[in-house]
């Protein structure tokens, strides 16, 4: 489902809504699988770009969510939070799954096939081999034709009773067409349908392959050592067109972003638990290192054919971190965590191209940056009885996200590491063994919102910000087979310095909510399951000025399934009530081809559409391009898109 523990995921372009962030591509949310980072530093499309599409959702055993910068073992990008997916070592049995999906009245169906082989060995070796293939078209007039394959192979061998080694491999390849952003005025005036496209060449192709080896050993009953090493390669070509026909009124503003990289790294951690005078000490320490060797390019294109090159860079980044955490439990009702981490980023940029007259191109250079991030928390448990268990906690911690290091050699320059400082108080409890309730009050300061804009190859300046919010979560077991849950967040986000715009912060979510009913019950020889889920977001400012609003939405999904010993059938309907919604909205300046060209007089009665305005403001004389909402719709009504199920954090490149 696209929401979990107050993390909401936009369905079509994978924007994550978390703690006041519209995490466009993952810059402030650290994503990983089995400890291997998903986020891509210095990505051609956006810093921290996190494409989870290479993951087969069925192989994910559990999802570990950590909100805020309070956890010493989390480094780069873990400012709003971190999500680690843990894959399964094996399955009870091998299986073959087939699914179809589609949006009635909106084009051809998609399909998905999944084969999981999990042979059993007397040696204790656990094995999983999974392959997925499929095509997805979506509801769009310009079918996505998203063809993909994925592989997941994992072997876990028990070396001894206390140690094991795991070898793993994951692969993904995909190609798709995108419908891009649509100006709201074009849709409102009937120039294009909500599921239409203005540049049908948008889309791209990508691949990711990675191998890893993991070693775990328990030297004693109270200690554990884990070590991980990984190596991956990645390719990405994305064709986009955000401004349509401003820069090049003839051929259009289509661009291609290319990213080629090899990434490798590892992490090691050691944990030991001991007691001293009845005080329990749980000590964890570790380190991680990651290297990315990147080549990235930005091109002007038409029909996916090269017109002119804008950027060409080789980038080399090394991130090294060391961390430690001491969990002290002096009495049963009190726990203290004290820890922190030190991170060092070394990087080199080799600029291969500076187009004539381009003052924004990064120069070549070598530099480094480092940060110390202290973290601490305290948990008090005043109630620990059967009918009521309550924890009260206080968190304080520093974290960071790295920036695209090309911005460090551009004007204005970007600080390679942006510090985040988080504070949080909260309570969580379980009552009568059936009701979970949690509330958190949090604050997160970000030193800067300045970013490298991959779409233009330039720097976008932004000041320091503060986000504050309240989160509520509750789950209640109505019966042994039926449960209900609801999550809601309220957030205030603003620039610390008022630039005359009321401190507005574009696209920061103000309120998100999700919840539903889940049922699971024996029926005949099998087990029937079902769920009704909703999730949504309220209106929020689309720009810093706050005069353009990104409309909110509430969507309902339903799931039903039945499982026999050898068979499982499932049916999902997304957007059950056919709500019009915009999965992604941006305040973008753009020009349709039929609109007046740059500098041309604006005709009388020219309609910018709701939410739109002239870029220059004031009396329209000449038209440098129209600003206003660009939108990307969600799927239409009654659309059983998924015989297959979406991964919890599924996304695709925009």
């Amino acid at each position: 489902m696209p929401s979990a523990r107050n993390i909401s995921v936009s369905r079509w372009n994978g924007q994550y809504f978390l703690r006041g962030f519209d995490v466009d591509h993952g810059t402030d949310l650290a994503l990983s699988i089995d400890g291997i980072p998903v986020n891509m530093v210095g990505h051609a499309h956006g810093q921290g770009y996190a494409d989870t599409n290479f993951i087969i959702p069925e192989v994910v055993e559990r999802v570990e969510i950590a909100k805020g910068p309070y956890f010493a073992y989390q480094g780069d990008f873990a400012t709003a939070g971190a999500v680690n997916m843990v894959s399964r070592d094996d399955f009870e049995h091998s299986s073959l799954g087939l699914g179809v999906s589609g949006s009635p009245g909106h084009g051809a169906a998609g399909f998905r096939a999944l084969l999981i082989a999990s042979p059993k060995f007397e040696s204790g070796l656990k094995a999983t081999f999974a392959v997925e293939a499929g095509r997805q078209n979506g509801p769009f007039d310009n079918p996505e034709a998203w063809d993909k394959y994925k592989l997941f192979n994992k072997l876990t061998y028990p070396i001894s009773a206390t140690s094991s080694i795991t070898l793993g491999e994951m692969s993904y390849g995909g190609a798709w067409h995108g419908s891009g952003q649509l100006p709201a005025r074009a849709v409102e005036q009937g120039g294009v349908s909500r599921f239409g496209s203005i540049d049908p060449d948008e889309g791209g192709y990508t691949s990711r392959h990675q191998i890893f080896v993991q070693y775990k050993v328990r030297p004693s009953d109270t200690s554990e050592l884990k070590a991980l090493a990984y190596l991956g390669s990645y390719r990405f070509n994305l064709f986009s067109n955000f401004s349509l026909f401003i820069r090049d009124p003839d051929s259009g503003d289509e661009i291609e972003q290319r990213d080629r990289r090899t990434f490798y790294g590892g992490r090691v951690s050691y944990r030991i638990v001991h007691e001293l005078e009845k005080v329990r000490f749980d000590t964890t320490m570790g380190g991680d290192v990651r290297q990315d060797d990147i080549h990235e390019e930005l091109w002007n294109t038409v029909h996916r054919r090269e017109l002119s090159q804008v950027r060409s860079n080789n980038v080399y980044e090394t991130m090294i971190g060391a961390w430690a955490n001491e969990e002290i439990t002096p009495v049963r009702w009190l726990r203290l965590d004290v820890g922190g981490r030190a991170d060092s980023l070394s990087f080199a940029v080799d600029n291969k191209l500076t187009p004539a007259g381009d003052t924004n191109a990064p120069s070549s250079g070598v530099d480094s940056a480092s940060q110390l991030s202290p973290k601490t928390s305290m948990v008090v448990s005043p109630l620990q009885s059967d009918p009521a268990q309550v924890d009260l906690y206080v968190n304080y911690g520093h974290g960071f996200h790295s920036n695209d290091v090309r911005g460090a050699f551009s004007k204005p320059s970007v600080n390679p590491l942006t510090r985040a400082i988080g504070e949080e108080v909260g309570a969580r409890g379980r009552f009568f063994d059936r009701w979970d309730l949690a509330v958190a009050f949090w604050q997160l300061d970000l030193a800067s919102e300045t970013v490298w804009v991959g779409d233009e190859g330039t720097t976008e300046v932004g000041g320091s910000t503060r986000r504050q919010g309240i989160e509520l979560e509750t789950r209640y077991e109505l019966t042994r087979w039926l449960s209900a849950d609801a999550d809601v967040t309220f957030t205030k986000s603003e620039f610390k310095a008022n630039a005359g715009n009321g401190n507005g912060l574009a696209l920061a979510p103000k309120q998100t909510y999700s919840g539903g009913l889940s049922a699971r019950h024996a029926l005949g020889p099998g087990i029937v399951r079902g769920g009704l889920r909703f999730y949504g977001i309220t209106d929020r400012p689309a720009n810093d000025e706050g005069d353009i609003i990104a409309k909110g939405f509430t969507l309902f999904d339903v799931h039903a399934g039945y499982r026999l010993r050898r068979f499982d059938v499932a049916f999902d309907v997304e957007n059950l009530f056919n709500q019009d919604s915009r999965a992604a909205q941006f305040d973008t300046t753009g020009r349709l081809r039929t609109e007046p060209a740059l500098g041309a007089p604006v005709p009388l009665g020219f309609n910018c559409g709701s939410g739109g305005k002239l870029a220059t403001g004031g009396e329209p004389r000449h038209l440098p391009g129209l600003r206003g909402r660009a939108l990307h719709p969600a799927i239409p009504a009654h659309a059983p898109r998924h015989g297959d199920r979406l991964p919890a954090l599924a996304r695709r490149p925009r």
Partner: protein, 175 residues
Amino acid sequence: MNLYRTVVLSLLLGAAACETPDATSAVVDNAYPEATRVVVYKAWWAATLFKEPVVPGASSDIERSVPESDVVYALLTPGWDPASGSPPTRLVAVRSKDKLVASRGDTLHIVVSDATFRGSCDAREPLSQEDADFITQRIFPGDFANAVYDARSCTTTPTPDADAGSEGGADAGPG
């Protein structure tokens, strides 16, 4: 093992059978007789630009498009040889007489000729000046930079303040 092979084979066959192409596309067919040497220099329909010149009797590359009903706008270059390496000396703005419609999955053939397009002065079907301005100032503004197109004579003249050798010079030259 036979079961494994059967399963893999079924998956591959299933994937092949599920090919679901329903993308819309469009192609420009230049229906002018070769003797006229009228080249379709550029064309625009709905969301698709045809950027490469199409000589008489030939067709453009097939380009991906969207289901739509819209007018086609084009620039013709009578007497120009794309292989010459020199830019065209004359551009004629034309538009289709009717909206052309493509449904989902169609390949729309845009047949360009005097029978289907309006605007050629040789065919004595000039555009209104308003239509011509729309084509030259919005659809293909780069080809008429610093120039004014006269719909009645199908000629382009430089604006008074335009440099003689400015961009689009060939297009801006005398018709």
